[in-house]
Symmetry: C2
Subunit: 247 residues, 2 copies
DNA sequence: GATGCATTAATGTCTATACATATTCTGCCG
DNA sequence: CGGCAGAATATGTATAGACATTAATGCATC
């Protein structure tokens, strides 16, 4: 095979050269042909193999590094990375969107809205200083007229003073925050909990029923924006995460 | 400020130019200065601003695209992406490692191991053809001597014939698969379930107690590798996912 | 006003070259 | 044999130019 003879770009418009190189390398790695730790060919070898410039090979490998498939060491070469098997991209859907996508009708109901100083028993990290005010919201998300999730939320009024002016009667706080407050970091905690009497009543399930609890805390440059706890009816909601190494 | 006057590389070794451009753009986006949907400067404008070649700007923006911060449209320009707020990187820890990291002792117990043909009521997609054999495993993971998770697993023996030779008495099937079988795709499903009588007995909880159910299916080039369902004691286990936009 | 076409501007890809930087390797010397 | 200086080499970054591709734009036509 004359490796350096490359068809003209016009003769092969199906894919770009970069794309072909990337696909080839990914295939070698994902098939297990090149095991983790294996040294892949040097840039100059790939240049010769594909008959292209070094920048082309370099950009491809840089992409694979960004995707976590390859690690590089100067002078030593490029190596297949140890697979980070235990990480997955979890999509936590916007409830109105998700419910609509399932062909069900969405309804939102505000149950309580209170402005108050932060307390000791509030989730940690909401405010370091005393006297900071928070907005405490309780609301229900319905799918097809049945309660799906009970949401309890605290919004830091020092980080998001604008939230004090919103009544959240029509728009869910999650949706409002998404559109008004940028964030830099978030943490999710997923657990299973038995419904307390209060939760059971709100969700229309029996006391002690299994609920999926999703807690999310969001920061903006180190300042807490919001803390939210959503309790889903366990019989009605799953979180799904799908992952393939290249993203 | 003479924007096109750039210090010589030797005079400013603190960071590379690409890195500075990237940091600047990220700051504009994450601070909310450039809201989602905002058109960022054209490549030729950034070239002029930083006094560099177009490839330099291009590589930076390509990185931001890969990171999901920016979307590009030919002729139209580059735009700040709508934040995919609801996607997070979920780390699903290796149980022995995770438990050890918490300072607890880990123990593994194989409860059942059976080789049998695939059945109709097995999870879909395990095998398209009839007569394919699977390895069915049931095992328990202990933390500090107390049951933490009940695991039920099916391994496709057509995809992973080597698994038939392993007895899984000492090594957990998850750990074995990690080290022996590469994978290309995985799907996770997280839900809350009430413990059945059988599950309750295995985990040492009362019947009906809330359990966190983690189902994972793994493929290799379209062929199912394994399907696993882990039921965690709801009072003893949370999944945690932490996410920041740049990864 | 609606439709179709040519123009144009911005991104997408690639080349050939250059120098910087880090690290491995080699061989010399004690 | 061990340690150290220097050579060799692979990656890291950047440049200036070229042409391809695509989609918004405005203009001419129906």
């Amino acid at each position: 095979m004359p490796a350096t003879l490359r068809p003209s770009p016009l003769a092969e418009p199906s894919q770009t050269l970069s794309h072909r190189i990337r696909t080839d390398l990914e295939a070698k790695i994902l098939s297990g042909d090149w095991a983790p730790g294996h040294r892949i060919p040097f840039e100059h070898e790939l240049m010769a193999q594909y008959g292209c410039a070094r920048m082309t090979v370099n950009k491809v490998i840089a992409g694979l590094v960004a995707a976590g498939l390859i690690e590089r060491r100067r002078r030593a070469g490029s190596f297949v990375a140890q697979p980070r098997i235990h990480s997955a991209v979890l999509r936590i859907p916007d409830l109105p969107v998700e419910i609509a996508a399932r062909g069900e009708t969405y309804r939102y109901q505000l149950i309580a809205r209170k402005r108050r100083p932060v307390r000791q028993d509030d989730p940690a990290g909401l405010a370091d200083e005393e006297g900071v005010e928070v907005l405490e919201l309780t609301c229900l998300h319905y799918a097809n007229g049945r309660p799906l999730a009970l949401e309890q939320r605290l919004i830091s009024l020092s980080t998001v003073p604008g939230a004090a002016e919103v009544d959240f009667a029509a728009v869910a706080p999650g949706s409002w925050l998404l559109q008004h407050v940028p964030w830099t970091e978030a943490e999710h905690r997923i657990s299973a909990r038995a419904a307390t009497a209060r939760v059971a009543e709100a969700l229309g399930v029996t006391k002690g029923a299994a609920c999926l609890c999703l807690e999310r805390r969001t920061w903006r440059s180190g300042e807490t924006v919001t803390h939210v706890r959503q309790l889903f009816r366990g019989d009605a909601y799953d979180l799904v995460a799908r992952f393939s190494p290249q993203g």
